[in-house]
Amino acid sequence: MSTPKIRVRGLRKAFGDKQVLDGIDFDLMAGTSLVVIGGSGSGKSVLIKCILGLIEPDAGSIHIDGHDILRAPRDAREAARARIGMLFQNGALFDSLSVWENVAFGLLARHKATRADARARADDVLGQVGLAPSVGDLSPAELSGGMQKRVALARAIAAQPDILFFDEPTTGLDPIMGAVIDGLIVDCVKRLGSTAIAITHDMASARRIGDRAAMLFKGKVVWIGDASALMESGNAMVDQFTHGRREGPIQMELRR
């Protein structure tokens, strides 16, 4: 059996007395897209931030291409993470830079291209997400929400990463623009042959983006299967979540 692109075992993370990740296990094969669903506070964002190295987990292991990145030397860890592209929930575009400088930021920061070459590359990538080169001269504040998401996607794929993470890529967008962004994500992932993990609350988006799906509840993976089976999983928690039912095994914790 081939080595998974990403293997997570026993991942745990607590903030104070709140156990956010409580022993996460999963494998993700190369070229596969995994959609992670779950309620707010179930640990989805913390999971991908742990893989990205933005949060240090308390226990467990994260293997990328068979190498445990948590125990690797710093250089190897940074090299592994440089191969990951990330689209943040709100885009997280740099306000002080123009659109093209945002897109080419990774290339310029690593001193891998001159500014002229980086601009040409940025124009090319903007074209891949359906934006004209002239958009590159605007500032992020001049763009609509949908265009900002496109630019954020362009920035995530500019360095041609072999792993891509998407944190709520369609949040705040209208259904049509959401479908457009999902289509772009699928195209980019296929074109690059990347392995992808997407966090979403949007069930239509989950089925469009994912090959596989997993549900997190209280820091544990309670179900994992094909994304196409998400709406008829047979798991009571998944069914309650995907159909948006008030009654079921998941009870909202309300602070009184």
Binding site: K49, L52, G53, L54, E78, R81, A82, I84, G85, M86, F88, Q89, N90, A92, L93, F94, D95, S96, F105, G106, A109, R110, H111, R155
Partner: protein, 260 residues
């Protein structure tokens, strides 16, 4: 009421103060260490230098001119009682170069630049832009903090040099227009009295103050959390802590340079 509660509160406060000092010191050392290790972000440094050094010029210049004018006016009323009006020039130039130039320029820059740094970096923190930097193989301390620390260190002495000149000019205006001194006599008194050490001590203070302003702006912005309210709190903390530390370090440096 348990009398030990007061002791416990004092202990908690002391531990908190020591912890904050340690965290700030480690943050400063981390930022400074990135000035010695490549890659270096020249454009980020230039942008910070222009923001601190060039765009602060008007407010520092106005502060210096008016300070020099007020000093000349106040000293004339005080010194005339002892028939020592000729000492106005020496009093103005000493006060401006040693104390008021560096301290007032630094306080003005703390309000203008320290607040802006905390707000910008704080907004980047709460909108995931700092995390985004890390995912783009860029160390946020190296890209955001180190260039600003260096820019603060370099820009403030330049601003204070301008403030020194304009402070003396303000004194000259009042001395000649209102107090009847000749320009030549007043400037001759100024030049004869001021020593290189007076100016250099002010510039050394300015470098320290510039570093403190940038450090506290970056530190509070970098650690901000909780959305708009958190960024607002970080901005306030940056200005207040920088202002207090400027005055505290002013005493320490004055003791170091001129203490007996």
């Amino acid at each position: 009421m348990n009398p030990l509660n007061g002791v416990a509160a004092l202990g908690r406060g002391t531990i908190g103060a020591v912890r904050s000092t340690g965290t700030l010191t480690l943050f400063a050392l981390n930022g400074l260490s990135h000035l010695l290790r490549p890659p270096f972000y020249g454009r980020a440094f230039l942008r910070a230098l222009i923001d601190i050094g060039f765009f602060s010029l008007p407010v520092v210049a106005l502060t210096a001119v008016f300070t020099g004018m007020v000093l000349a006016l106040q000293s004339s009323t005080g010194l005339s009682r002892f028939s020592a009006g000729s000492a106005i020039a020496s009093l103005v130039v000493l006060s401006v170069t040693r104390e008021l130039g560096p301290v007032l320029a630094a306080l003005m820059v703390a309000g203008r630049v320290g607040a802006a740094m905390a707000a910008e970096i704080g907004t980047m923190r709460v909108t995931d832009q700092i995390d985004a930097l890390a995912t783009l193989s860029t160390n946020p301390m190296k890209f955001l903090v180190a260039p600003r620390l260096l820019a603060g260190l370099v820009a403030l002495p330049f601003l204070v040099l301008v403030a020194d000149v304009l402070g003396v000019l303000g004194g000259t205006i009042i001395a000649t227009v209102k107090l009847g001194f000749s320009v030549h006599t007043y400037l001759e008194n100024t030049i004869n009295f001021v020593q290189t050490g007076d100016v250099l001590s002010g510039l050394a203070k300015a470098a320290m103050f510039g570093f403190l302003i940038a450090l506290l702006g970056c530190y509070h912005g970098y650690r901000s959390k909780g959305g708009a309210q958190g960024v607002g709190a970080a901005t306030t903390a940056a200005v207040v802590s920088a202002s207090v530390l400027i005055l505290a370090f002013d005493y320490v440096l004055t003791e170091l340079f001129f203490g007996q």
